[in-house]
C-alpha cells in the first residue's frame, strides 16, 4: 500500500513525481481549482479552523485522521485503492480478459463521458450548498457540512486525475470545463438536472445527502466494477468517503424527526399549524420534502431503456451494483427485466431486454437501499409512540426522465387526471409556503453544544468527541 506523498504540491499515492507531464498539467489545474473553491466554496469560511478528517493513506488506519484544518489548506489529493495485478474484467463481452490499465481506443469517448458526468456532480454539490454555512443549526452540523464539501472537492480531484492522466488534451479541456460550469447557471449549467436544483435550507441539505449522495454511492459502486482499473480503484476509495455524506443525511433527517416527535408529545398535537408555531417542522412537510428529493434523485439514473447503458455494460465500462456478488452469467444477453409504462390510463409492466434496462436495474437497487433508511426514520416515530409513518413515493411519481416523464402519477402509484394532479400537488410536493416556513427556521447557532430548536442533538459526536466539542473555531 503506497503512502501518500505530502512532500509534493499535490498529495498522491500514484507516483505523480514519476510523470512530469502529468504533474505539470495538474499543477497548472490546481490554482484554478483553488480559485474556484474561493469563488464557489463555502461562503465566508476561509479562516475557520474546522475539525476535519483527512486521508493520509488509503488503508483503514490512515484515511481518517482528524484535526483542525483551514479549508483552503485541506490536502486535496489523488488516492487510489491498492491495485491487484491479476484483476480480470468480470462482466460484459470482455469477461475474463485482464482489466485495462489504459483506455482502450474504442471505448475512449464513452469512458470520458462517464468520468465527466460523475466529475461534474462533485463541484456542483459544493456550489449548491455554499450558503448553508450561514444558517447552520449547530457547530456539529456546520463541521459535517464542511466535511462533505471538502470531500466532494477531493472527488473532483479524483476524476480530474483520470482525465489528465488518460485523456490527453481532451481530458485537460474537460477538466477546465468542470470548473467553469455552475450549478443553476442559465447559460452554463451542470450536466445533470438534480445538480442544478437549489439546496436552500438544511432540511433540503439532509434530504440531498441522504437521497442524492446515495445515488452517488450507487453510481460509484457500478463504476468500482469497471474493467478500466484506474477508474475502479479511484471510485472504491471515494466510496469510503461517500459513506459519511449519507450518514449526515440519514442522521440529520432522523434528528429533525426526533425533535418534531418530542414537540408532538409535549403539545399533544399533530396539527401542523401548532407544531410550526412551536418552531418545529411538521411530519407532513418532511414527507413532502422526501417526495421531492426521492423523485428528483431517481431521475439521475437515466432513461429506463437506454442503449448507452447496454453499451457501457457490454463493453465492460460500468457494471451493476455488487456485480461481483451476483451469480448470473454477467453477460445478460437474452435476459429480460420489467419496466413501467402508462397504457390506457394505467401503469403496466412490460418486459424488455435487461441490457437495455440496466439503468432501471440500478434504480431499483437504489430504491431498495433508500427504503431501509426511511424505515429507520419510522422507528424514531414508533419509539415516540406516534402513529405517523413515512413512505417513499411510487417510482413513477413526479418523473422528468424516461418513459414516465410527465406522467400524472400520484405518490401511491395511481394514474390521476390533470385536475387531480394540480389540486393535490401541494399535498405531495413542498409548496412555496412550506419552503418559506422551513427557511424561516434557519438561524445560525454556533455555540458549542447548542442546537437550533428544530433539530435534536446527535447521539454521538464525530470521532468519539463529545457533542459539545468545539468542531469549528471561527477565529
Amino acid at each position: 500500500m503506497s503512502a501518500i506523498d505530502y512532500s509534493e504540491k499535490i498529495p498522491n499515492n500514484v507516483n505523480l513525481s514519476q510523470d512530469r507531464t502529468l504533474q505539470r498539467a495538474l499543477e497548472h489545474w490546481q490554482p484554478n481549482y483553488l480559485a474556484w473553491w474561493q469563488d464557489m466554496g463555502p461562503e465566508g469560511s476561509r479562516d475557520f479552523d474546522v475539525y476535519l478528517r483527512t486521508a493520509v493513506s488509503v488503508d483503514p488506519s490512515g484515511w481518517a485522521q482528524f484535526g483542525y484544518v483551514k479549508m483552503p489548506d485541506y490536502r486535496w489529493g489523488i488516492f487510489l485503492n491498492p491495485g491487484d495485478a491479476d484483476r480480470k474484467i468480470h462482466f460484459g463481452d470482455h469477461i475474463g480478459e485482464p482489466a485495462w490499465q489504459d483506455v482502450p481506443g474504442e471505448h475512449r469517448a464513452n469512458l470520458r463521458r462517464i468520468i465527466v458526468t460523475q466529475g461534474d456532480t462533485e463541484p456542483a454539490s459544493v456550489e449548491q450548498q455554499r450558503h448553508l454555512g450561514l444558517t447552520a443549526p449547530s457547530q456539529y452540523d456546520l463541521r459535517n457540512l464542511f466535511q462533505v464539501n471538502v470531500e466532494e472537492g477531493r472527488h473532483l480531484w479524483a476524476m480530474v486525475y483520470l482525465l489528465h492522466r488518460f485523456f490527453g488534451r481532451d481530458g485537460r479541456e474537460e477538466a477546465e470545463a468542470l470548473l467553469e460550469r455552475r450549478s443553476g447557471d442559465r447559460d452554463n449549467p451542470r450536466i445533470l438536472g438534480a445538480f442544478n436544483e437549489k439546496t436552500p435550507d438544511w432540511l433540503a441539505f439532509f434530504m440531498f445527502t441522504y437521497f442524492t449522495d446515495r445515488d452517488g454511492k450507487f453510481q460509484l459502486c457500478a463504476l468500482a466494477e469497471s474493467g478500466f482499473d484506474p477508474l475502479a480503484r479511484t471510485t472504491k476509495f471515494m466510496l469510503t468517503e461517500e459513506a459519511h455524506h449519507m450518514f449526515v443525511g440519514e442522521s440529520g433527517v432522523s434528528r429533525v424527526i426526533q425533535r418534531t416527535c418530542e414537540a408532538m408529545k409535549e403539545l399533544r398535537t399533530d396539527d401542523p399549524a401548532q407544531l410550526r408555531a412551536a418552531g418545529v417542522i411538521d411530519l407532513p412537510t418532511i414527507q413532502r420534502y422526501l417526495n421531492f428529493h426521492f423523485s428528483v434523485t431517481i431521475d439521475l439514473f437515466g432513461a429506463d431503456q437506454s442503449s448507452n447503458a447496454a453499451t457501457f455494460y457490454s463493453t465492460g465500462l460500468k457494471g451493476r451494483y455488487e456485480e461481483g456478488k451476483r451469480t448470473d452469467d454477467h453477460l445478460l444477453k437474452g435476459e429480460t427485466y420489467k419496466v413501467l409504462e402508462v397504457r390506457d390510463g394505467h401503469l403496466v409492466e412490460k418486459e424488455v431486454p435487461m441490457l437495455n434496462a440496466l439503468n432501471e436495474v440500478l434504480r431499483d437497487d437504489y430504491i431498495k437501499d433508500s427504503v431501509g433508511g426511511v424505515n429507520r426514520w419510522n422507528r424514531v416515530i414508533e419509539k415516540a409512540g406516534l402513529p405517523f409513518r413515512f413512505a417513499v413515493p411510487h417510482k413513477a411519481f413526479h418523473r422528468r426522465i424516461g418513459a414516465l416523464a410527465g406522467a400524472r402519477i400520484a405518490p401511491d402509484g395511481r394514474v390521476v387526471s390533470d385536475a387531480e394532479w394540480n389540486a393535490k400537488l401541494g399535498e405531495w410536493l413542498p409548496s412555496e409556503g412550506d419552503r418559506a416556513f422551513v427557511a424561516s427556521l434557519m438561524g445560525r447557532v454556533v455555540e458549542p453544544g447548542r442546537f437550533a430548536n428544530w433539530i435534536a442533538p446527535p447521539a454521538v459526536g464525530i470521532n468519539k468527541q463529545p457533542v459539545d466539542f468545539e468542531y469549528v473555531r471561527f477565529n
Binding site: S61, A64, T240, F247, S251, G372, G461
Partner: protein
C-alpha cells in the same frame, strides 16, 4: 525528554498502572488473565448504523455481514483488529460487550435487533461462571500509579519552586505512615498481570494487593512502600521501594480492601547500564496468594480535588501514569453514580510506542466527553518523535482555557527529565492565552493546584 517506559527507565522500577478502562476493557487484559471462557464481543449499534457497508468492505477477515435489516459481526471470526473502527462514519461500529463465550450473541440474534442489548451485570456474569477477577479487571478501569524510592537512591524530586506543598482545598484527609519499616503490615497478592504488549522490552505489571482486615486507607496520588524480602550484598535488609497506588480510594474493586500498583520491571539504570531492579523484579514475579510486606501510606499534597466541576489536567509518562489512573477511575465511578458533576479531565500521556503504553486498550475505550486524551509516542517507526510537551503546545488554546479557571488542578508525574519541557509548555500556553505566568504559577502553588512528582 524521554519517557520512562524505556528499557533505560527509572532504576527504582517504576510505578505505573493502567489508565482506566471502561466496562469494555481491552481484550489484552482479559487474555492476560488467561480466561478462555469470556470474550469481549464486537457489536454494531443498529440504532446508529446507516448500513453504508464500509465496515464490511474494510474487514480483512470477513467477520462482518448483513441482511436487509442489520450489519452484524461474527464473534468467532472477528480478531478484533480494529481496522473497521476509523472508517465507520457513524461510530456505531465501536461497541463491545463482555460475554461468556457460550453466550456470545449469534449473528441471527444480532440480525433481529433494533437496539443493542445492555451490558450483562456483574451478577449475571458471575452467575454465568465468569471469574470475579475477570469481571473486575474488565469492568472498572484502573489508572496508573507513581512509585518513588522511599529510602536512599533517588528520593523523588520535589519540584520545589512550582510544586505545591499543600493539597487542594477539597482534598480528602490523607492518612500517612500507619505502618513503618520496623512494623510493616502484610498484604496478599490477589492479581498480577502484564499490561504492556508481549514481545517488547517493556514489561509492566498490574498487581493487586489485598489487606484483608487490616486498615490501610489510601487516596489517589498517595503511594505505598513494598519491602522486598532478603538482604543486599552487604547483608543489610533491603529497603522499601515506593509505588503510587493505581486504584481509587474505595479499592481496585469497589468496596474491597485492596489496592493496585503498576510496576515496570527494571532491567537497566538511568544511564542504561544493565541492572536487575530488586524490588521491581520481586513485585513483577509475585504470584497470586503470595504475602508482601507493605509500609505507608505516604503523600499529603499530590491529592485530587473533590468539589463539583473541578478540572484535572494530568501530564505523565510511562509509569508516572499510576496516580492519573487512580484519579481518572475515581472520577469515572463518581460519574457512573450520577451524583457528582465532574469538571473536565485532560490527559497528556507519553510512551515510546503504543504497544508499550500500559493499559492502552482500556484507556482508548473511555468516552471522549469524559476525558480528553492526548497520547505522544516517541519511538513510532516512520513518524517523528512526539513528546507530551509537543501535544501540550498543540492543545495550547484548550490548556489556557482551563488554566484561566480557579477550579483547575494540574498534576505532573514521570521522569525528572520531563519537568522542564512540561513547565515551559504550561507557561507558553498560559502566556498565549493572555495569562501572567508568574502570578498564575504562584497562585496555583499557593492554592495547591500544581503538583509535580518526578524521579
Amino acid at each position: 525528554m524521554d519517557t520512562p517506559l524505556t528499557a533505560a527507565g527509572p532504576s527504582q522500577g517504576g510505578h505505573c498502572a493502567p489508565l482506566g478502562g471502561s466496562a469494555a476493557a481491552s481484550a489484552a487484559s482479559v487474555g492476560a488473565l488467561s480466561t478462555a471462557a469470556t470474550i469481549r464481543q464486537h457489536l454494531i449499534d443498529p440504532e446508529i448504523c446507516i448500513r453504508c457497508n464500509t465496515c464490511e468492505a474494510t474487514c480483512p477477515v470477513g467477520a462482518i455481514t448483513h441482511d436487509e435489516r442489520n450489519y452484524v459481526v461474527r464473534a468467532d471470526v472477528c480478531k478484533p483488529c480494529n481496522a473497521c473502527i476509523a472508517p465507520c462514519p457513524t461510530g456505531a461500529i465501536d461497541n463491545w460487550r463482555l460475554m461468556p463465550v457460550a453466550r456470545a450473541y449469534t449473528i441471527e440474534e444480532q440480525l433481529g435487533w433494533d437496539v443493542l442489548p445492555a451490558e450483562l451485570t456483574h451478577d449475571e456474569l458471575a452467575a454465568a461462571g465468569v471469574p470475579e477477577i475477570v469481571i473486575d479487571a474488565v469492568a472498572p478501569p484502573p489508572a496508573p500509579s507513581v512509585a518513588a524510592d522511599v529510602s536512599g537512591e533517588g528520593v523523588p524530586l520535589d519540584a520545589a519552586h512550582f510544586s505545591s506543598p499543600l493539597p487542594p482545598w477539597s482534598a480528602a484527609h490523607a492518612y500517612t505512615a500507619l505502618y513503618g519499616p520496623k512494623a510493616p503490615t502484610i498484604a496478599t497478592v490477589t492479581g498480577n498481570f502484564r499490561v504492556t504488549d508481549a514481545g517488547f522490552a517493556n514489561d509492566t505489571h498490574h498487581v493487586v494487593l489485598d489487606f484483608g482486615t487490616m486498615p490501610f486507607p489510601v487516596l489517589e496520588g498517595q503511594s505505598i512502600g513494598i519491602v522486598p524480602p532478603g538482604a543486599d550484598a552487604a547483608g543489610r535488609p533491603h529497603h522499601a521501594r515506593q509505588y503510587s497506588v493505581a486504584s481509587p480510594r474505595n479499592g481496585e474493586r469497589p468496596g474491597y480492601n485492596n489496592v493496585s500498583l503498576t510496576v515496570k520491571r527494571v532491567t537497566a539504570d538511568h544511564q542504561g547500564r544493565a541492572v536487575k531492579g530488586v524490588a521491581s523484579n520481586y513485585v513483577c514475579d509475585l504470584k497470586v496468594g503470595d504475602k508482601v510486606q507493605v509500609i505507608g501510606p505516604y503523600g499529603t499534597s499530590f491529592l485530587m480535588p473533590n468539589h463539583p466541576r473541578s478540572n484535572v489536567v494530568m501530564i505523565c509518562t510511562g509509569t508516572g501514569s499510576a496516580p492519573m489512573r487512580a484519579m481518572t477511575e475515581w472520577r469515572r465511578r463518581l460519574r457512573l453514580s450520577g451524583k457528582f458533576e465532574g469538571g473536565k479531565l485532560m490527559l497528556f500521556f507519553g510512551a515510546r510506542t503504543r504497544e508499550e503504553l500500559p493499559y492502552f486498550g482500556p484507556l482508548m475505550s473511555l468516552p471522549k466527553d469524559f476525558i480528553d486524551i492526548n497520547l505522544a509516542f516517541s519511538r513510532t517507526a516512520g513518524q517523528p518523535k512526539r513528546y507530551v510537551q509537543d501535544l501540550m503546545r498543540e492543545r495550547s488554546a484548550d490548556l489556557a482555557a482551563l488554566l484561566r479557571g480557579a477550579d483547575t488542578y494540574v498534576y505532573v508525574c514521570g521522569l525528572r527529565a520531563m519537568e522542564e519541557g512540561v513547565l515551559l509548555a504550561l507557561r507558553d500556553a498560559a502566556v498565549a492565552g493572555g495569562l501572567a505566568w508568574e502570578a498564575l504559577a504562584a497562585a496555583m502553588r499557593r492554592e495547591g493546584r500544581l503538583h509535580l512528582e518526578t524521579y
